[in-house]
Amino acid sequence: MQKCFSMKLKNELEEIIRMSKLIDKFGDEHNITPDTLYEINLALEEILTNIISYGFEDKLKHNIFIEGHLHNNILKIKIEDDGIAFDPLSIKEPDLESNIEERQIGGLGIHLVKTLMQNISYLRENEKNVLILEKLLKCTEDLIPIK
């Protein structure tokens, strides 16, 4: 298992941009295909947005840690925050069918993460939420596969 990126983020939505630059850099270094990179970016944004928007009941500054590890061609991303306990796997599936008048958007972000990642696990540990996303990486063909 090889550590390939890590970052400390503040609980502000602006941080999404810094995060996406980090992921893009990781993609460049490892020749990840653009669709896979999009999906990783999206999953991380959805999770971080949830934490930043709903995770903290105080108005104080908090830190969120993300860390990527590579094992063969699986990327494991750990996201850790000290917000209120929230297991994203526990929320119900969103409405994907009803018409425009009745359509609701709640739960869509988590649905996207579940669809785009190969595995998600959640743990509440030492008053912290620890979420691990696993993504099978695709790399551009002509370059060296990830070890």
């Binding site: 947005t49 994907l96 069918e97 008048e101 869509l108 996207l112 785009l116």
Partner: protein, 436 residues
Amino acid sequence: MKIKNEIRQGINIISLNGRLDSFSSQEIGEKFDSFINSGSYKFIIDFSDLNYLSSAGIRILLQLKKSCTKLNGDVKLTNVSPYVLNVLKISGFLNIFSVYENVDIALKSYFIENNSEKNDSNTQELYETSIGTFKFEKKNTETAKIRVIGENQDFLYAKCKKDSIYSESLNKLKYTLGIGALGDKPDDFFANIGELMIVGGTVVWVPTDGHNVPDFLIPIDESAEIKVHTAFHIILENTFNEIVRFEAKSPSEGVSLEDVYKSLFELSKGRITEYKGILSAVMRVDVGAIFGAGIKKAPILKNSPANSEMITHRDNIKDWLNFQVDYEHQNTTALIVGIGIDLKSYEKSPAINLVFQINPDQKKQQMLHNHAAIFKFFPEKYQSYELEQEIDNVINNGEFIGMQHLLDRSTIKKGIIGLNYVQEIKKRKLEIGIRT
């Protein structure tokens, strides 16, 4: 994130540049609100330079569309990249937003829909759905009507009587489905009433004489008075409102007829304002698996089930219906005439009962009735939108295999569909009854 907008022909065209994520969507959402407040409610959003969209972006697009829909407007998307399209698809938003290839096509679509005059440009509109692609081309804006002859109930309970048989000159009919027979003398054909369809003016009929061999009749001499006798029949009265080219996502396997109609129902909602949840379809398609059913004996009073239940009742179904799964002809071409109703959104009216027997507590989302004339695989000649030409070509040059009442799980690979947004269902008055 940058946003630009211009107004063309009264439509607000917005270009988004950059990432529409949870950070930028707040600002863009406020911009959308200001457009609505200043009186815009018809939008085209150009995604050419949008390289990233997340659920936060979808949320503000949905809010915009909700506001516009209330004002009779719309939000149409163009130049959507494959990654963004995939996110919209996974999120279930391809049936909320119409997606167009470019701004010009999206712009035109605003005027085609609202303009009752015939539009002579050959603009096609492409929809990518989870089952495949649909390309629509408008043909005419006539009010599509269906005429129903006879009683659905007479057929379902096998209660057809000689004096409720109607005869109709063939040269008046082009696309129909139901039950009936050909022949001169009522005594001869009455007992042979079976599944019948007319496609492109050609009659295809399976007599219930026990042989299960279909008749296939091309009227050569148009002046000849050939009559079709029927106890229950659905007649499509118009040529097509739109022609649709369909191609399944997996062309080797195809997708079920059920899913094709489901997508057509969803897409139709965005195409005309008078959509009533009922479609008629004439298809010239390449099919995969064929699941068919056919009646074994004439649904006439003499044969009525002893238990007075429908012929499809579990105690009767074996005696009455032949279920056929055709694995031999995996690669065939079919001419289909059908009608479908979207039970989630149809406009309730007693006229529906003329066509479908709707069980109030049934859980189905749609009801379909399709008949298919099946041919050995026959390639399309022009890959065009000329459905009637292509149908004639199959009829005149294809190798006919048989006819089936198609079950919804039969699969379709690709082809042309002539679609009508049915506005009226009328019962045909007895014009030429052969009351004996």
